[in-house]
Amino acid sequence: MEKEVKILAIESSCDETAAAVVVNGRNVRSNVISSQIDIHTLYGGVVPEIASRNHIERINQVIEQALKDADTTLDEIDAIGVTYGPGLVGALLVGVAEAKALAYAAKKPLLGVHHIEGHICANFIENKGLEPPFLCLVVSGGHTHLVKVLDYGKYEILGKTRDDAAGEAFDKVARAIGLGYPGGPKIEKVSHEGNPQSIDFPRAKIVDGEYDFSFSGLKSAVLNYLNGCKMKNIEINQADVAASFQCAVTDVLVDHVRNAIDEYKMDKFAIAGGVASNGNIREALRKLCQEKGVEFYHPSPIFCTDNAAMIGVAAYYEFINGKRDDLTLNAIPNLKLGER
């Protein structure tokens, strides 16, 4: 039997302090996530300084819990993976400094991992048979990327958002219609009671980038609609606005994926990131894949949200590709996908 490669992974790019132990890139032995969502809800969104402060207070406990849950010790770990970008710089720095110190003191190899690559790799956890190449849509509070996964650690970005991320638009619209933070789950919930065809919000097309996205126009359209109603003293139907907005986002995402499947003749498609938990979006994409005869993959919600298991998976493939980082590894808040 081949030797197991056991990775301890750390993730602190936004408001989740997370650690996990992953064996051979597919087998998650533990996945500890300490969410700060209750704290940030008080402020209507993630406050970077508060996120960083909470990371430093919790990080050791989270790592120790991850080792304990996996019934292992630092001694038995083969390498340490950590998210080094993109994300909030102060938040990233906590994980990076911690991981470097751990790797140094325990004499373990260190691997910096790209957060979005982690999200993509989350699909490997529950789909043991999934292998590149495949098409992947990453949608979260901070990112919207349509990516061709060419091989492990090799990506071709087909398109990304020019302004707001899809999840960001969810948050802003939720705030505007009085649903509060976090917007994604709240909009999805009230949308069930609304009519998605009731308001015709725009579906942005980018002329010089077929696969790029833009959600700020949609967000403005919603705000304008709300203002218009207010001026005319028309009562706003929260559920209709939410459902129509969600429908517009879904249409844009489905449209882009359909074109990419057709153009690149991909036979596998995966979705990743926090917004991938949105049932409406997931079902629309599943239907599209059925139509096209394309295999559809999606992670469970626990692996869609920011977590360290996905970072452990990505770190494993970096590890077997021979990548090693040294003690100068730094947090890079605007790290590009595929950059090494």
Partner: protein
């Protein structure tokens, strides 16, 4: 007993290894590179030069703050990571007080000043415990004003009231020099550059004292001491207060 000491609270990154008798090694860098890039390579360099096995250290002394929020966290996470890996205790050393240890021995008051922005200083007031004519030659520093964040006016008023000679040091001297020169009513000095900024050897000296007094915490429990809320928290508190008044 051996201590690894770390200070990344300000512009300077500094690491030291000391035992009870001497500073075995100290490495201080004041450059544009971020602490994230420099701190651990510096520790590695000192450890290598000393042919030290990190397992040999008894605890890690960390300059706990106040200071740059991000800088403090880089130092803290580094200490916490090493502490977790090697099962070492942490000694939390007040940053401003450690600065005062830079200028021992003197009978003067010692007033470290760090620029806290928003027209405030991270500061405190310290004095050697045993005066020069005392038979007890052991060094110890008394805390007259515990480290705090205040307007420079308040600190200068306090010094004027005490009415003793004072030495100022720290990166805040540059910021507050004019105000001090115009308003101080006692004899005063500014420390030379060699004593002016955070030094891990001073953190270690004070840390060793705290370690002997048993003042340690676990690596998990350690967190920086910012002395200040985040801006969002301050504004929220203000709103809550305003709301209550209304």
């Amino acid at each position: 007993m051996k201590l690894l000491a770390i200070d990344s609270s300000g512009m300077v990154a500094s690491v030291a290894v000391v035992d009870e008798e001497k500073v075995l090694g100290e490495y201080t860098i004041n450059n544009k590179k971020t602490h994230s890039q420099t701190l651990l390579p510096m520790i590695d360099e000192v450890v290598k030069m000393l042919e030290l096995d990190l397992e040999e250290i008894d605890a890690i002394a960390i300059s706990e703050g106040p200071g740059s929020f991000t800088g403090l966290r880089i130092g803290s996470a580094t200490a916490k990571g090493i502490g977790l890996a090697l099962n070492k205790k942490i000694v939390e050393v007040p940053t401003v007080e450690a600065l005062a240890w830079n200028v021992w021995p003197t009978d003067s008051l010692i007033c470290p000043l760090m620029d806290a922005r928003r027209q405030q200083a991270y500061t405190g007031l310290f004095q050697r415990k045993n005066k020069a004519d005392s038979k007890n030659a052991n060094c110890d520093i008394e805390v007259i004003q515990k480290q705090c964040v205040v307007k420079i006016e308040e600190m200068i008023d306090q010094i004027n009231e005490i009415g003793q000679e004072v030495i100022f040091l720290g990166d805040g001297v540059k910021t507050f020099k004019d105000y001090i020169e115009q308003n101080i009513k006692v004899p005063f000095m500014f420390a030379p550059v060699s004593m002016n900024e955070q030094r891990a050897a001073s953190v270690a000296c004070l840390g060793m004292k705290l370690l002997k007094e048993g003042k340690t915490c676990s690596a998990s429990a350690h967190k920086p001491n910012y002395l200040r809320l985040s801006q969002a928290e301050r504004e929220r508190q203000q709103k809550v207060r305003d709301f209550k008044i209304c």
